[in-house]
C-alpha cells in the first residue's frame, strides 16, 4: 500500500467536494416542487387585489409555511445542506445568476404593482409573472446546476 502524497490527498479533497454536489443532486427535489412553488407565489401575490390586509397577511404566512416545509423536507430527503460559501465558484454562479435577477424582477414588479400601476388585477398579473419566474426559472436553474455539477465531476474523473 503506497503512502498518499500531499498532491494525491489534495486531489482527493477536490474530488470529494465535487462528488458531494453530484451526490446531493441524485437525491434532488421531486418534479412537483416547482409548479407548487410557482402557484404558491402567484396566489400569495394575487390575493392583494382583494385589498384586504388580513387576507394578505394570511397569504404571506401560508406561503412562508409552505416554503419552510418544502425546504425542510428537501433537506431531510437529501441528507445534506451544502454551504454556499464553499461551493465551487462556477456552481455558485449558476445559482446567483437566477436568484439575483429573479429577486430584482420580483421586487421591481412588486414596486410597480404597488405604487405605479393602476389596474384592478395588477397583483394577479404580477403574481402570474412572479409565479413563472419562481416555478419555471427555479426548475431551469436546478437543471443547469445539476448539469454543471455532473460536468465538473466528469472533468475530475468521477463516476456517480
Amino acid at each position: 500500500m503506497t503512502t498518499p502524497t500531499p498532491s494525491s490527498l489534495l486531489s482527493e479533497i477536490e474530488r470529494e467536494q465535487l462528488a458531494l454536489y453530484v451526490a446531493q443532486d441524485s437525491n434532488g427535489a421531486p418534479g412537483w416542487i416547482w409548479p407548487v412553488l410557482g402557484l404558491g407565489t402567484a396566489l400569495m401575490l394575487a390575493v392583494n387585489d382583494l385589498e384586504s390586509v388580513v387576507v394578505s397577511i394570511v397569504a404571506v404566512l401560508l406561503f412562508a409555511a409552505l416554503l419552510g416545509g418544502i425546504t425542510a423536507k428537501l433537506s431531510e430527503r437529501s441528507g445534506v445542506q451544502v454551504r454556499l460559501s464553499t461551493m465551487p465558484p462556477s456552481l455558485r454562479r449558476v445559482l446567483l445568476w437566477y436568484w439575483i435577477p429573479a429577486g430584482l424582477l420580483i421586487l421591481g414588479g412588486g414596486f410597480l404593482a404597488t405604487f405605479v400601476v393602476a389596474h384592478p388585477l395588477k397583483f394577479t398579473i404580477f403574481g402570474i409573472g412572479a409565479g413563472l419566474v419562481t416555478g419555471v426559472g427555479g426548475w431551469l436553474t436546478v437543471r443547469r446546476y445539476e448539469a454543471r455539477a455532473r460536468s465538473m465531476a466528469r472533468e475530475a474523473e468521477l463516476s456517480e
Partner: protein, 97 residues
C-alpha cells in the same frame, strides 16, 4: 507532523471533514452511503471528531424515523483549513536530490 493534524490526516476522517467543511449539516445515512462505510465504522470516526470538538451532533425525530445530523464546528473548520494549508505547503517544499 509538518503541521498536519493527525486526527484529520487519517483517510476516512479527511474525507469526512472535507464533506463537513463543504456543508452546513450532513446526515449520518448520507455520509455512510457517500463514504461506503459500515454504521459502526462511521460511528467510530464521527465519535473521534465529536470528542475532539471538530464536529457537533444533533438527533431529530424519535424511533425508526429519527436521524442524526452532523456539522463542523468553528474549531473543526479552522483545524481542517490549517491541515489543507499544511498539505499545500508540503507541495511547495523543495525536493531533496
Amino acid at each position: 507532523m509538518n503541521g498536519l493534524d493527525p486526527l484529520i490526516h487519517a483517510p476516512k476522517r479527511l474525507r469526512i471533514m472535507t464533506i463537513l467543511n463543504a456543508t452546513d449539516a450532513v446526515e449520518f445515512q448520507f455520509l455512510k452511503k457517500r463514504l461506503e462505510l459500515s454504521s459502526s465504522d462511521l460511528s467510530k470516526q464521527m465519535s473521534a471528531l465529536v470528542d475532539a470538538g471538530y464536529a457537533d451532533m444533533r438527533k431529530t425525530g424519535k424511533g425508526p424515523g429519527s436521524s442524526t445530523w452532523f456539522r463542523i464546528t468553528r474549531r473543526g473548520r479552522q483545524a481542517y483549513k490549517e491541515h489543507v494549508e499544511a498539505l499545500k505547503a508540503l507541495l511547495e517544499r523543495p525536493v531533496r536530490a
